[in-house]
Symmetry: C2
Subunit: 257 residues, 2 copies
């Protein structure tokens, strides 16, 4: 009966609304999965990025209400990156159209390969092999690399996995795979449970440069990817609309059939 789901998700209903034909889209779901880590002051932070602070400025006892001041880098915690993150003149997060914040998710599980080789880079062959099993990656998808790094989140040392020279080691997209996904599959974005869609030891940031250069967005530091199916989930990306921002910490919810 699982075929029903696949039939329902892409269904576009056409009907006359107010005299004109309006295209109706449908999100079918049975559960909502939160792909966001909690924002804490001791979460893993990219070297050079500000350490987050969460400090009370009013309390129920004193002012009658409680609230904190939050200070955080735009790319800390679970976050979105906008084209301006790597390209001067690229769209800032407030300019990214809302349609780019609602995307079908494709999940490529490379946990096995990542466990054997923390420098593993997703190849075009990996993608073609994934497609043989799950079908062609739809245009406009968010393609998420599930590396298993989400389980290292509470151990920043293991999460960054730096060697003695300070080079990071975590898996990511290869430049070729990124180019293939952007040019041949016309994806809208790339995501991962590590701190970068770029492999830790890719100091050229090739995937980000290619993807954001094409107007795409990234999602980094995702979690709960084990609760997503390979296809069929729809993401709603709650990025703050920061004027002129390079990106934003975000609440990312997955609607899973």
């Amino acid at each position: 009966m699982k075929g029903w789901v696949l039939l329902l998700i892409p269904v576009f209903l056409l009907f006359q609304a107010g005299g004109s034909w309006a295209e109706q889209k449908v999100i079918v779901y049975s559960r909502i999965v939160d792909l966001s880590h909690a924002i804490t002051t001791d979460m893993p932070i990219w070297p050079g990025d500000p350490t987050p602070t969460i400090e009370p400025v009013a309390t129920v006892e004193e002012e009658g209400y409680f609230l904190n001041k939050l200070c955080i880098g735009e790319h800390s915690g679970t976050h979105v990156g906008a084209p301006a993150h790597f390209h001067s003149g690229g769209a800032t997060i407030d300019q990214v159209p809302v349609e780019l914040l609602v995307l079908p998710a494709v999940v490529i599980d490379i946990r096995g390969k990542a466990e054997e080789d923390p420098d593993y880079r997703l190849t075009v062959e990996d993608i073609l092999s994934w497609e043989k099993e799950h079908g062609r990656i739809p245009k406009g998808s968010m393609v998420i690399l599930f590396t298993g790094w989400q389980s290292r989140w509470n151990d920043p040392k293991a999460f960054f996995n730096a060697d003695e020279q300070g080079t990071f080691h975590w898996p990511g997209f290869s430049a070729e795979a990124t180019r293939f996904l952007v040019e041949e599959r016309k994806v809208a974005g790339l995501g991962t449970d590590t701190h970068g869609i770029d492999p830790g030891n890719d100091e050229t940031f090739a995937p980000n440069t290619i993807l954001l250069g094409a107007g795409g967005i990234h999602l980094e530091n995702l979690t709960n990817l084990d609760q997503l199916p390979p296809t069929g989930a729809v993401l709603v990306i709650g990025a703050l609309k920061i004027k002129g921002g390079s990106g934003s910490p975000a609440r990312v919810l997955a609607f899973v059939p």
Copy 2:
């Protein structure tokens, strides 16, 4: 043909998934409306709350990538309030279940009354009269008061509308209407395009105290409410998952049939 929409929205499809019967929910939409103001350093800020700052910590020219540090109060800009905002021991924003972040929206337009009287408070009679036209407010809704204040956003003085004594004047929910919505209609939250679901001159914060005390959430400083129908839209509330937070600046998207 508009009846089709009404038939489709509440449809719950039952089918066997993986051997067990799973309840499937459906969001039908033809457009996405962004209910969030952009976060800027000169937006209206509640007295005593921190002035937001957005400052670059890395640039494409120097570091190869651009990002800002954002400092902001949890209740600045378009934001969500969690029970802990008014009640010690109430749920903090990271504890609010994801189901509370996906809510059907009900919009009550009081622009006419608000223009005549900036201190107008929504009454139980207003609600009953709204229900005569649009049907009973569904359990678990987010009831949004559309006051017209969204058009004052770029003029902080007009937005707060303080008198010579410093008392604010904007419309809100009355205590009675709040109690009715929470107790008789079991709503999940209340929203508004002003800086408070509490009327500007209600120094007891009655609506917030009642709503958040019942475990509800608020949405304040909303915009684009003129683009929402009275019923039928579904909100997805992108609140940051701030550990121990009283609430959060948020991206609020409305899915409109």
